[in-house]
């Protein structure tokens, strides 16, 4: 029997910095500019500081359940740096590093996880970015819609969407990459492959050897990148985003990383994964790697590090103060944003909230507790 081979594919992996911060090959042009690397390092450090504070606020009863981005900073910071302001981001919940570069304030993020809707009314009001999407993978479809609008209007803009490895099992993910391929949309998919979806390891999530190869089935390129190497991440993202901007269509970037923390503050990962595995991945930390590289290049030192840490702590503290001093929303905020105008036939419900608000104020009670 003769069978003809009609198609063949391969998936590549990109890395420039190994886990000790040594270069594995010539660096791309942008990485030869110390300012760019220092910017990336500073932003990753701020992201981590804000993140640690959020966990601390939760532990001390001042915030709700919170999903830390510990260990994934290189991915989100690279996304933020590679995007242009006019592009649109559809985040999942571990992209604090991108959001902070796109006009979201640290206190917005605190407010959101602190149970206050205003955390998604971020930026200066001009942002077209989507809020965090809690239903896993649903945002992948929104990005294809945003990209369709760009394409129809012939605007040189790109939609970027991120999700986790587990998310790539959802129908919404497959439907989104399929549409992106079929319509050749200006959209970039970034999968944070942190090896776990809560307690389910990647090996039980999929039999596919890589997540990048899922793009092949959708008819476009998928690339695997060391997601803890911010240089590789930025390089790949910039190329994918510019390619999309030029009409070259979508790319899927599988960023290999590791969830160095519990799934959220409500989770206890020791129930399902060995301590040693976590310790092993700690050594691959994206910040340590870049720090070592900068140190070796003479671009960084202990003193600068201390100054940076102090600066981050100050910014984060200012955000904590802003967050804790945020005035409560009135109870009527429940109804006031649901429709452009609250329907007249439901006026009694708004009145009831108003009355309850007044009663609380008369009693001098805080609105929330």
């Amino acid at each position: 029997m003769q069978r003809e081979q009609v198609a063949s594919f391969s998936i590549s992996h990109l890395r420039f910095l190994d886990e000790h911060g040594n270069t594995t090959q010539d660096l791309p042009e942008f990485a030869k500019d110390p300012d760019t690397l220092l910017y990336l390092y500073r932003t990753m450090s701020l992201t981590r500081a804000a993140d640690a504070k959020a966990v601390n606020l939760q532990r001390t009863g001042r915030m709700g359940t919170y999903p830390s981005s510990l260990g994934q900073e290189a991915i989100s910071v690279a996304i933020g740096h590679a995007m242009r302001k006019e592009d649109v981001f559809c985040p999942y919940y571990r992209e604090q590093g991108t959001m902070l570069q796109r006009g979201v304030k640290i206190e917005d993020i605190f407010n959101y996880w602190g149970g206050d809707e205003r955390g998604s009314n971020f930026g200066d009001g001009t942002s077209e970015d989507f809020p965090i999407s809690v239903p896993i993978a649903s945002q992948c479809l929104h990005a294809t819609g945003v990209a369709t609008a760009f394409k129809l209007r012939k605007q040189p803009r790109v939609a970027v969407v991120s999700c986790g490895d587990g998310a790539t099992s959802e129908g919404d993910f497959y439907e989104a990459i399929n549409l992106a391929g079929a319509w050749n949309l200006p959209v970039v998919f970034v999968v944070n492959n942190n090896k776990w979806a809560i307690s389910v390891p990647l090996s039980e999530q999929t039999a596919a050897q890589t997540i990048a190869q899922k793009a092949i089935a959708a008819g476009f390129d998928g690339e695997q990148v060391d997601g803890n190497d911010v240089i590789a991440m930025h390089h790949t993202l910039e190329q994918a985003i510019e390619n999309a901007r030029q009409g070259g269509g979508p790319t899927l970037i599988e960023a290999l990383t590791y969830r160095m923390c519990d799934h959220t503050t409500a989770d206890d990962a020791s129930r399902y994964r060995p301590r040693e595995e976590v310790d092993e991945h700690r050594k691959k930390c994206p910040l340590v790697r870049l720090y070592n590289y900068l140190l070796n290049q003479g671009l960084w030192d202990k003193e600068k590090e201390n100054a940076l840490q102090a600066e981050c702590a100050e910014k984060v503290q200012a955000a904590v103060d802003a967050y804790l001093n945020t005035e409560n929303q009135p109870l009527t905020s429940m109804v006031d944003y649901l429709y452009e105008t609250w329907p007249a036939s439901l006026a009694d419900q708004r009145d009831a909230l108003l009355q309850e608000q007044q009663a609380l104020e008369e009693k001098g009670e805080a609105v929330h507790g």
């Binding site: 389910v200 109804v335 507790g369």
Partner: protein, 328 residues
């Protein structure tokens, strides 16, 4: 309290373990239900005890969980699927409406769908968006499904066993606010409680309070308060939302002449509306006052800083009761 008393969530685990042991056709599946034992611990220890073939961690996909359960059920397995939070049930609802609910009817009984879909639901635990909603009315609207909501460890055990043994698809919604609120002694005797009937939680003569799920707790407290004021309130836990046992409710309303319905879900087009409509259709002449609903607002569930102002409070229930009692 007896020292082998268990919580509602432990009663769920106990029922699952009982039936996994008793019926080799049962399987448990869902996200994080295996090694991790479920994010609320409802399946804790089950995979260890019954193995990976009976207690399966699935990939992250709700339509898959529902659709694959339908396939297993058609083959005579009895899948007990967990949806991690009710807020993520919607991709699965597609399969439940279009296939689970109508397989028996579509094939004139040749293929059936004896599956259970469990999901924790409701507010009050300071969770993020989509983790606190009560959308039981959406599900109750679907012909061919049963929707069951336990309000205590005893009911959780007995009703879950009944749901698993039922030959048709059952959606079993667990009020997570009361997962660990009270403990009861629940003998692990494999005895199911009946589906499709209401449970009278308290007998009374002056007013009927109808509720289900977590709201039964505030409602019972209000009944206690009323008792001290000399008002005898009857409290009915609907338990099976669909199909609705109106007989029990009508008998009570015919006795008391007054009725307040309490639910956490938003007001319009809810289960309360259905109950009130049937009372109007069948017991209007017994009523001494209009039926009153005390419910959540017609808004999306607010994020948790405001959630306690969304949930019906004891004060609001009491005010509703006073209004109905004072009606001329």
């Amino acid at each position: 309290m007896a020292n082998n008393a268990i919580t509602l969530v432990e009663a769920v685990t106990q029922a699952l373990a009982y039936e996994l042991n008793a019926d080799p056709d049962t399987v448990v599946l869902g996200e994080d239900v295996g090694v991790n034992g479920g994010v609320f611990r409802a399946t804790a220890g089950l995979q260890q005890r019954f193995g990976k073939d009976r207690v399966m961690d699935t990939p992250l996909a709700e339509s898959m969980i529902a659709g694959a359960s339908i396939g297993m059920a058609a083959q005579g397995l009895k899948p007990i699927a967990e949806i991690q939070f009710m807020g993520f049930i919607f991709p699965a609802v597609d399969q439940m409406i279009t296939h689970a609910a109508r397989m028996r009817n579509r094939t004139r009984g040749r293929l059936t769908c004896p599956m259970v879909m469990r999901a924790p639901f409701g507010g009050g635990i300071h969770a993020p968006e989509h983790h606190s909603e009560s959308t039981e009315a959406l599900l109750a609207h679907i012909p061919g499904l049963r929707v069951v909501i336990p309000s205590s460890p005893t009911l959780a055990y007995g009703l879950l066993l009944a749901a698993i043994r039922d030959p048709d698809p059952v959606i079993f919604l667990e009020p997570k606010r009361i997962y660990r609120l009270v403990k009861q002694e629940v003998p692990d005797n494999g005895e199911a409680l009946p589906l499709d009937v209401c449970f009278q939680l308290r007998e009374g003569t002056d007013i009927t309070l109808v509720t289900w799920g977590a709201s039964t707790h505030e409602t019972l407290k209000v009944a206690n308060t009323l008792a001290k004021q000399g008002v005898s309130a009857e409290v009915i836990d609907v338990a099976t939302i669909k199909p609705l046992d109106m007989n029990t409710i009508l008998q009570s309303v015919e006795k008391t002449g007054r009725c307040v319905i309490v639910h956490e879900a938003c007001r319009s087009f809810g289960v309360g509306a259905e109950i009130a409509a049937q009372i109007a259709e069948k017991a209007l002449t017994s009523l001494m006052a209009p039926v009153k609903r005390v419910t959540g607002y017609d808004t999306v569930m607010p994020y948790f800083k405001l959630e306690k102002h969304y949930l019906p409070s004891e004060a609001q229930i009491l005010a509703g009761v006073q209004e109905v009692l004072e009606y001329a």
